[in-house]
């Protein structure tokens, strides 16, 4: 029985390898006429369900839309969480992951990444005047984060004396903070700013903390498909050069948006 299932698994692995060697993802996408993107569905302003249209919208959806338009295909959105995004990409249920995913070297073993499309840094979200300013203040406190995220591992390393409680999504962690069940939420600053902006009284909360970790976001791509990766990288740079990036950024993070965040960063551009 064991032998049989192992042989089956091996056979499946071989057919997959063969399949991957012959057809690139780019051809597949063009042939099917759809780009399937894995995005967050509860992460304003990166990806969330819009109240009026009930559709998933956000900064990362617009980035994927740009890529789909360039390929001349339709965009299909699939919600993922921090824990499901890598398995979904490796098993092929999505073609690209745009889900606030940090480009980490250890993740390179499973998937590939595009160039950085969003700069982020891990911070803390706390109640204003609650006495927590830095990571050091977290000793003996409860900190909320999301399952499968880098923030979860970083904070445990930066402050071994805190208790990390991992939820399925960041908004759940923020809800726990609002109800006083955790003392801080830690993840990337723009996500924290987005969470803060969803509250009815955003001024009650503040994003704080000293340096914990850099969290540059990259688009997750299937392993070892360089044609596809080249296309995505070139498109991102073109997006920046044409000013389209700035337009999308302004829509979600501009001064008039719900979650203003100054753009102090420049994309890596290859000549």
């Amino acid at each position: 029985m064991k032998k049989l299932s192992f042989a089956l698994a091996l056979l499946a692995a071989c057919t997959m390898l063969a399949g991957a060697a012959f057809a690139g993802k780019l051809d597949d996408i063009k042939k099917n006429g759809v780009l399937v993107a894995g995005v967050k569905d509860s992460q304003p302003p990166f990806g969330y369900v819009d109240e009026q249209s009930k559709q998933i919208v956000g900064f990362e959806i617009d980035v994927c839309k740009y890529l789909a338009d360039k390929l001349g295909v339709k965009l299909e959105i699939k919600p993922v969480t921090s824990a499901t995004r890598i398995p979904m990409l490796t098993q092929g249920s999505v073609d690209i992951v745009a889900a606030t995913m940090t480009h980490k070297i250890e993740r390179e073993a499973e998937i590939d990444f595009s160039i950085t499309y969003f700069p982020a840094e891990q911070k803390l979200l706390v109640k204003k005047g609650g006495g927590i300013k830095t990571v050091a203040d977290l000793a003996g406190k409860k900190v909320g984060s999301a399952k499968g995220s880098t923030s979860e591992k970083n904070i445990q390393a930066a402050q071994p004396k805190c208790q990390v409680i991992s939820y399925d999504t960041y908004p759940m962690a923020f809800l726990a903070l609002k109800q006083g069940k955790v003392d801080a939420v830690t993840t990337d600053a723009p996500i924290l700013a987005g969470l803060k902006a969803t509250d009815e009284k955003p001024e009650m909360w503040e994003v704080t903390g000293d340096f914990i970790a850099d969290e540059p976001y990259g688009l997750g791509l299937p392993e070892n498909d360089s044609d596809y990766r080249d296309f995505v990288n070139a498109s991102l740079m073109e997006m920046w050069r044409s000013g389209e990036y700035a337009k999308i950024y302004d829509k979600w993070f501009g001064p008039k948006s719900k979650c203003p965040l100054e753009l102090k960063w420049k994309m890596e551009l290859w000549p």
């Binding site: 692995a13 057919t15 969330y48 369900v49 699939k78 092929g92 249920s93 759940m172 009815e200």
Partner: protein, 239 residues
């Protein structure tokens, strides 16, 4: 209290983003919420019925290896949490199968495999509850074992099993909430999405969806109880 949050999203809870565009006369958006939960449960119980029927009858077989397959299947599944089974089909089936299975289909398969094991036990209990003489008499009239099963035993046994099936259907309806964990946009998922966006009415939202589940399950349970009373009159019992 913020019941307005619930009120504003009640359509999303009930049928997801499905919308009828009156200008172009076409349906837009995707089915979700309670409607999708009911679809999942209905398809699930349909598949589980046939799988369970096969498993239950196989478990009664006199051939040792046929019986062994059924016993292993039923006991393995009944000893595993449904959530684990969902993870298996979702994260790990692709490694074995070689292709990705979309989340709706993969949870549906997990539900069928899971519920099938319980239905198998219901079928086995239903068939063994019939007096032995029924089978002997049927065989005595010249029917084969298979014919006797199909024409004499099952029609009686299945009718007696209807209340248990309905109970299993209720369980499955509740279990569809687990599909939200891997992102199927059924009722519980719509609730967490709205809760994550609004974050000011968790009490109201979760009470509302609990009430929605309750409504469906309670109607089913009530039906099952009436059936039980009704069917008890026809039951042929042994001993």
């Amino acid at each position: 209290m913020r019941w307005d949050v619930v009120w504003n999203n009640i359509d999303y809870f009930l049928w997801g983003s499905l919308n009828f565009d009156t200008q172009n006369m076409r349906v837009t958006g995707e089915l979700g919420g309670l409607a999708l939960a009911v679809v999942l449960a209905a398809l699930g119980i349909f598949g589980a019925f046939w799988l369970g029927l096969a498993a239950g009858l196989m478990r009664l077989s006199r051939r040792a290896w046929v019986k062994a397959i059924a016993v292993i299947y039923i006991e393995l599944v009944r000893g595993t949490p449904l959530l684990m089974l969902i993870f298996w089909f979702y994260f790990l089936a692709p490694i074995v199968l070689g292709t990705a299975v979309p989340e709706f289909q993969s949870t549906l398969i997990a539900f069928i495999v899971f519920t099938g094991a319980y239905v198998g036990e219901i079928v086995r209990a239903g068939v063994t509850a019939l007096p032995k003489g029924q089978m002997e008499a049927a065989r005595g009239t010249g029917l084969t074992h298979f014919q006797a099963m199909r024409l004499v035993i099952l029609p009686q046994a299945l009718r007696n099993m209807i209340p248990s099936f309905v109970n299993q259907f209720v369980s499955l309806t509740k279990d569809t909430s687990l599909a939200s964990i891997i992102g199927v946009n059924e009722l519980t998922n719509t609730a967490t999405q709205v809760n994550n966006r609004t974050m000011n009415a968790p009490f109201e939202i979760f009470i509302t969806i609990a009430a929605l589940y309750f409504l469906i399950c309670w109607v089913l349970t009530a039906t099952s109880r009436r059936l039980e009373k009704h069917l008890a009159r026809y039951q042929a019992r042994g001993r």
